[in-house]
Point group: C2
Chain length 257, copies 2
């Protein structure tokens, strides 16, 4: 039986990135694509708790079954598992995102939220992102790494609780190298633009610039992307922290409250 | 100078839990409370990218400055850091959530999303949740652990990238013990209820029951909560996974794509 591949994204069902991804995945298995009905960037692992979800079947795209959901990327994965897929998927692939999900951005990313949800269902899951935000981005730089990683993950699987965050640089031509990286340490500065509404009340819009706090660290995803190299970061969804230096005091206060 | 404490939640500015939390924190420092203007459960670390945010100052509550934001819990923390707080906070406390955020639920939780965002800003951060979903829940079982942990975290701090997920059982009376735990391994079953709209189209609403896959493991948060014990789980926001068994193949395919 051919592998069953669930494809999703956070840019919505009309995004160019997801269609490029489907085209590239067709040789590897049967594709079911379930995406948000509109762009849902920055949704992290958000779920829709207090509203119903509409599910709409669309015409096939190059042999792939297509659906849209009035919810978040994680809603799409959950609804797929419970009501859309004919059997448990062999692979979840999210993307190709229009824009980078490197460094701390993995925390906010809907693309990676969907991959992490696939992982939570015990299915090998990968998120692909291209560092070009534009709607008509050229996704050619992603093709070779998709081929190589999808083939390898279908063959080897991934450990329980681990999925892959893959970022592809759009500058410096077609990348010829990929590296295993750490997420770079960095932060967002000046995150809000301030406005005044017609009634004199202030309102705010998220913006800002990312500051790389270790720009010379060649082991980080940001360094690789800046140098035309694809970054591959394994992400653990089991997030409990060990007792490391600075936390030794915590066990000592456990017990009676 | 008294510590500056940012208080937030995901149940919204009108929730009883956040008012109980403020009352309990008043002896520890100056409080600024910034919450979503409506319930935002299940928002994880979602951010509002494509819409503006309204910020409204409200009357003080027992000496605490009060604000509401038309966004997610993470939006509240970000906007606080950039436009509301007079200086960098010494502590971020999120909650008290109406309902458990144990086990895998930490991934979807807006309460913990806010705590993780505080942590991303390099500020010691704690999320508190009570395992009672009701709007008029009695938060008395949380008081002793809030006192003990807030005092200790203000004194010792927390390591970079680590925040605390604290869940308090509402059954079996006032808990007298807290334990350092692992998140229990489990999954959600039957996650959607199916309906048919007046036009004959199906729609879906999230529901389901949590299945604990290691019910006898006394080291887990779920076991503790089931036995009337408060669970404390350190959460790491730096999520890159090491190369463990099952992932050894990955480094070997790096290099040329």
């Amino acid at each position: 039986m051919r592998p069953l591949i669930l494809v999703t994204n956070d840019d919505g069902i009309d995004a160019r990135g997801v269609h490029c991804l489907i085209d590239r995945l067709l040789p590897f298995g049967d594709i079911v694509c379930v995406c948000p009905d509109a762009p849902r960037s920055g949704q992290s692992m958000a779920i829709t708790v207090n509203d119903p979800l509409k599910l709409t079947e669309l015409p096939d795209y190059n042999g792939a079954k297509m659906y849209k959901v009035s919810g978040t990327p994680v809603d799409c994965v959950k609804l797929s598992m419970h009501h859309i897929l004919p059997r448990k998927a062999d692979l979840v692939v999210s993307g190709i995102n229009h824009g980078s999900n490197s460094a701390i951005n993995v925390l906010y990313s809907g693309t990676m939220g969907a991959a992490m949800e696939g992982c939570a269902f015990g299915i090998p899951s990968i998120g692909f992102s291209l560092t070009d935000h534009s709607a008509d981005a050229d996704f050619t730089p992603c093709y070779a790494v998709i081929d190589k990683l999808v083939k390898a993950v279908l063959e080897h699987g991934l450990p329980q609780d681990v999925c892959l965050n893959v970022n592809v640089p759009d500058k410096k031509g077609i990348p010829t190298e990929m590296r295993l990286c750490k997420p770079c340490i960095g932060r967002w500065n000046d995150e809000y633009q301030e406005y005044v509404d017609p009634h004199g009340h202030k309102f705010y819009w998220l913006t800002g610039t990312f500051e790389n706090l270790e720009p010379d660290n060649e082991e980080t995803d940001e360094w690789c992307l800046d140098h035309g190299i694809i970054s591959v970061v394994p992400i653990n969804i089991e997030r409990s922290a060990p007792i490391t230096p600075g936390l030794e005091w915590l066990p000592s206060i456990m017990g009676k409250v």
